[in-house]
């Protein structure tokens, strides 16, 4: 095998192992899963408040986790959406209108039913779980978005959380949510969708804020530790980019 390929594989492996070590290390050192040390993100403060209000008012929470599946480069945002479904189910399981989740990919749909089920079980409300509350809204990008519209418009949803992989067509869901005066919070790993969500959502999540949801909603302590690990590696990457730029400038002189 080519030596440079082996070298880059090794760098990749070391990077991943260091990341893993940092997440686990910080997770065990920092036993408190609270938000201490995390900067204020308005979207999450508002989301937490709105979840409480929705439960009190007997209104529904709707989580859209996109159509990116769990494999490939869009998988992580779908997994993040699943964590959020679990947390929101735990919080709103006893509400008059239980939370609902929609996805546009079969694997995600099955897993969203799974995490919702486990959320109900954790708060001893397993009998309230309805498999249909975590549904495959439609297949394909447009089919999925079209399938979410009846949920947003007709099911007395007061909070719509859009976290996952979408295309720019997510603007149609945001528009529907805006017409029902419900709160919209969202972020995507897809840049065009990110731009649309920035313009259309009341509380947009930009870039990596999408992956911070678990830490701010206190899903488990490793969400906060992975957020801190991300920060460490962000500074490392910034340093590498700056050093590389300086070398390039020096080389050009």
């Amino acid at each position: 095998m080519n030596a440079s390929v082996m070298g880059s594989d090794l760098v990749g492996l070391v990077f991943v192992l260091a990341f893993l070590g940092l997440i686990v290390g910080i997770g065990f050192v920092r036993r408190d899963p609270s938000q201490r040390g995390l900067r204020e993100i308005r979207s999450f403060s508002r989301l937490k408040r709105s979840i409480g209000l929705a439960v009190e008012a007997g209104q529904r929470l709707h989580v859209m986790i996109g159509d990116g599946g769990i494999q490939g480069m869009h998988g992580a945002s779908g997994l993040m959406g699943l964590s959020l479904i679990q947390k929101m189910t735990r919080t709103a399981a006893v509400s008059d209108r239980p939370p609902t989740a929609t996805s546009g990919e079969p694997m995600l749909a099955i897993l969203s039913q799974d995490v919702m089920h486990s959320g109900y079980r954790e708060v001893n409300a397993e009998e309230r779980f309805e498999p249909a509350s975590a549904q495959l809204a439609g297949l394909g990008a447009m089919g999925y978005i079209a399938g979410t519209l009846p949920v947003i418009l007709d099911q007395q949803v007061s909070v719509n959380v859009m976290i996952g992989s979408f295309g720019s067509e997510v603007g149609l869901s945001s528009d529907a949510a805006e017409r029902t005066d419900s709160l919209t919070i969202g972020g995507s790993d897809n840049l065009p969708a990110q731009a649309v969500l920035f313009a259309s959502n009341q509380e947009p999540l930009v870039g990596e804020e999408l992956y911070a949801a678990g830490a701010y909603l206190q899903v488990n302590k490793f969400h906060a530790s992975s957020l801190l690990a991300q920060d460490v590696f962000r500074w490392v990457l910034i340093g590498i980019i700056l050093v590389g730029t300086l070398f390039k400038i020096a080389g050009g002189l």
Partner: protein
Amino acid sequence: MKNIRLRTPFLMTIAIAFGAVTLLGYFIKIPIITTLRAVLLHWAAILAAVALVIGVLNLLRVHWEKFKKGSSDSFYSLILVISLLITLAISVIFGLTSAFSIWIFNYILIPVEASLVAVLAVALVYTLTRMFSRKVSAINFLFALTVLFILAATATLSWMDFPLARDLRDWVSQVWSLAGARAILIGIALGAIATGLRVLIGADRPYEG
């Protein structure tokens, strides 16, 4: 209930082991690991296909239940169920590349999606105006200004086709916009790695239902 609690560590062990092998196989080219990784990915592809069948059945069930409840939009659910069954029957009987399947694709699916894209274009323009009714901030203003400028400079408008406008457009799209996009993508990549690693250590378990 007891059975479910007992099976969680078992599922976690399988998930962590399979995840670790798949990740290691990506970086370390030892034959046994790369072979195992290929087998696991092959299984994942088969599972994805099975999930598709289950997902379609779920979709069918949800809309059938909705139709039976007789709510205001139950008619649309009935249309979905009938369309799905007809499309499935035609694809199974005549094949995916048959004239009937292609007719459905060309004369139903594409026009419906194209009309949704047209609606989306209007919705996005409306969204941009509504952004200011929600909150007027410097960032929102800059966002709208950039969108309008790129839109005007990209369109073939004779009054915008002069060297300064072209240079400014290229500068905005190839320097500022690209730098911003890369910064967002770096953040997303780090978040994606962290999310994957949390599943790998069993902190997030989307499989314990």
